[in-house]
């Protein structure tokens, strides 16, 4: 990868990417500024992980230019499904893999490395799990363990592949809060997600993939549009806007709204329970059900 100017952290221009000669994405133009929080959305197999890993310089580049700013430290959190959870390793040992370059020729870790690992684990609320084998972790704890491995490098750019897959609503909420906190602290965060309502709609910028390219790039209000979603997922979507919240629901072809309208909430939605505030004092959306 080449380098970019001071304005952008990453610049992809007219990029075509893939593996083993097979193009997965083409005509990709994406610029990421320092301090952004971005979600990549789209159906399974649309190239979300390929685009994410292009920021690591991994997929083969068939066209265009991919540039990343000099001295950018990148932290990568893979999908938890790709990991062998029976591997004999503890939470602290996983976290310290992230700093493998420190005293790289020695098999053991220094006291400074271990205390750095403890600090990161504490920040993520899993310091008490440091000596626990990874096979004994819950989904949320697994995600945090990998986040710790990425954070131990003090990354400028944090890439996460489906960080909220397989976790419950509360854990998802906690993970998103932690990512938002890191972003506020200056870390650029890019994540992929399948969860349009629970994750994507809460992010400031979304990149929607489909038809082997970028279909839309902007705030959720611009990207989560019925036309774009139908092109991406190949299925009509009902988009409901309620205040600042946007909800997306897949609908059958013959149902009302299938022609792609953005519907106002009162006619189609019953809001069942809406807590005034969550534990952090921020407004939180309650569950919704489509009674239309």
């Amino acid at each position: 990868m080449a380098t970019v100017g001071v304005d952008a952290l990453v610049e992809l221009q007219g990029v075509a990417l893939g593996y083993e000669g097979v193009v997965a994405l083409r005509d990709v133009d994406v610029t990421i500024a320092p301090g952004e929080l971005i979600g990549i959305v789209g159906p399974s197999g649309c190239g979300k992980t390929t685009l994410l890993r292009s920021l690591l310089g991994e997929p083969e580049l068939y066209a265009g230019t991919a540039k990343v700013a000099d001295n950018t430290r990148v932290g990568y959190v893979p999908q938890v499904e790709t990991v062998d959870w029976n591997f004999p390793i503890t939470v602290e040992q996983v976290a310290m893999l992230g700093s493998w370059r420190t005293r790289r020729w020695l098999p053991w870790t220094s006291r400074a490395e271990r205390s750095r690992a403890r600090v990161v684990l504490s920040q993520l609320g899993i310091a008490d799990l440091a000596d626990r084998p990874i096979r004994a972790l819950s989904g949320g704890q697994q995600q945090r363990t990998f986040l710790a491995r990425a954070l131990i490098r003090s990354p400028d750019l944090l890439l996460l592949d489906e960080p909220t897959s397989g976790v419950d609503i509360k854990t998802r909420h906690e993970i998103l809060h932690q990512l938002a906190g890191l972003n506020t602290a200056g870390v650029t965060v890019v994540l992929t997600t399948h969860d349009l309502n629970g994750v994507a709609s809460h992010l400031p910028r979304l990149i929607a993939l489909g038809e082997q390219t970028v279909l839309a790039d902007g705030p959720p209000s611009e990207v989560l549009q019925p036309g774009i979603l139908e092109r991406a997922y190949g299925q009509p979507m009902l988009v409901v806007q309620s205040g600042h919240e946007t909800y997306v629901l897949p609908i059958p072809e013959e149902a009302p709204g299938a022609h792609g309208d953005v519907l106002p909430p009162p006619e189609v939605v019953n809001v069942i329970g809406r807590p005034d505030s969550d534990e952090d004092g921020e407004a939180d959306s309650g569950p919704i059900s489509d009674n239309a």
Binding site: Y76, P78, P88, I89, T90, L97, W100, P107, R135
Partner: protein
């Protein structure tokens, strides 16, 4: 007085194997080889490559035969043959239509078949290669021992220096590249170390038993711990101790040393597994007892 005499006789009998030079060399070689095969085996089993150890041993047999036939140094020739086999396996495995297990099967059996073909053409070598197939640890010379010790030392140094990248790749190969680890280089060096390990173990255990020494000690250690560094140390200790014990016991039972080493390792595995099953049953019973007591307490409170 008679009991004391008997005890002394027994004691002297137990020391008998240490009186002979060939047994001393065999026990040292088996301890070194047992330790190093277990060390490399830890990475082999955790990467689910147990089959490669078996295949590589057969492949290196072919290399040993060819080296012997053309008068080339056995250790160097067999190691180069093994490294070339691993290179071919890696190249073939990269093609998704083939896959790793099929690549191992094709390359290693082809290399083994070359060895058999050479033997069948030059029948006078048959007896020497029986030793390669089944091991001939009691025939180890001082020079063999020095070469084996040198190879073990070299493999140990490589593993010491590559420990962190090796652990990372073994745990999460997919992500290791993104953390700046030169995965292909580390894998190539590990493959060479694996080939060298198999060559070092060839004379001690023979082609047919090497896979067991690569796999059993790490698997036993895996049953005992969930921590990688501890697993590694336990595996090496088990490998070295069972290597020594196997040769030592073979003196008394008059059975092939290589086979005895593997049988001792298998016995350790069976005992560890049995102990684990008993422990988990005991834990299950304790949990059920606690559950019953809690239920009784609840009903009493109600």
């Amino acid at each position: 007085m008679r009991t004391a005499k008997l005890t002394l006789a027994r004691y002297l009998t137990m020391l008998e194997p240490f009186e002979f030079g060939f047994m001393q060399r065999a026990m040292i070689a088996a301890t070194l080889v047992g330790g190093v095969t277990a060390a490399v085996g830890v990475f082999v089993i955790l990467r689910r490559l147990a089959y490669i150890g078996h295949g590589l041993a057969h492949s290196i047999f072919g290399g040993a035969v060819v080296s012997f036939t053309i008068g080339f140094n056995f250790f160097l020739g067999a190691s180069l043959w093994g490294a070339f086999s691993v290179f071919l396996i890696n190249q073939a495995a990269r093609r998704r239509q083939i896959g790793g297990d099929a690549a191992i099967g094709i390359v290693t059996t082809a290399a083994f078949a070359i060895g058999i073909a050479v033997i069948s053409r030059a029948r006078s070598f048959t007896r020497d290669f029986e030793a390669a197939l089944f091991g001939e640890i009691l025939g180890i010379t001082n020079q063999d021992l020095y070469v084996t010790a040198g190879m073990v030392l070299l493999i140990a140094v490589v593993m010491f220096l590559l420990w962190k990248p090796l652990v990372f790749i073994t745990f999460d190969q997919d992500v290791a590249t993104s953390y700046g680890i030169p995965v292909r280089w580390v894998e190539a060096i590990f493959s060479l170390a694996l080939a060298a390990t198999v060559v070092a173990a060839l004379q001690v255990l023979g082609v047919t038993l090497i896979a067991a020494a690569l796999v059993i000690p790490p698997v036993v250690a895996r049953l005992l711990t969930d921590s990688f560094p501890r697993l590694f140390i336990i595996a090496v200790v088990i490998g070295a101790v069972t290597g020594f014990l196997g040769v030592y016991v073979s003196w008394f039972v008059d059975v092939s040393s290589g086979a005895t080493v593997v049988l001792v390792q298998s016995a350790v595995f069976a005992l560890t597994l049995g102990w684990g099953v008993l422990e988990s049953r005991r834990g299950f019973s304790a949990a059920r007892r606690a559950e019953r007591l809690a239920g009784l307490e609840r009903s009493l409170n109600d």
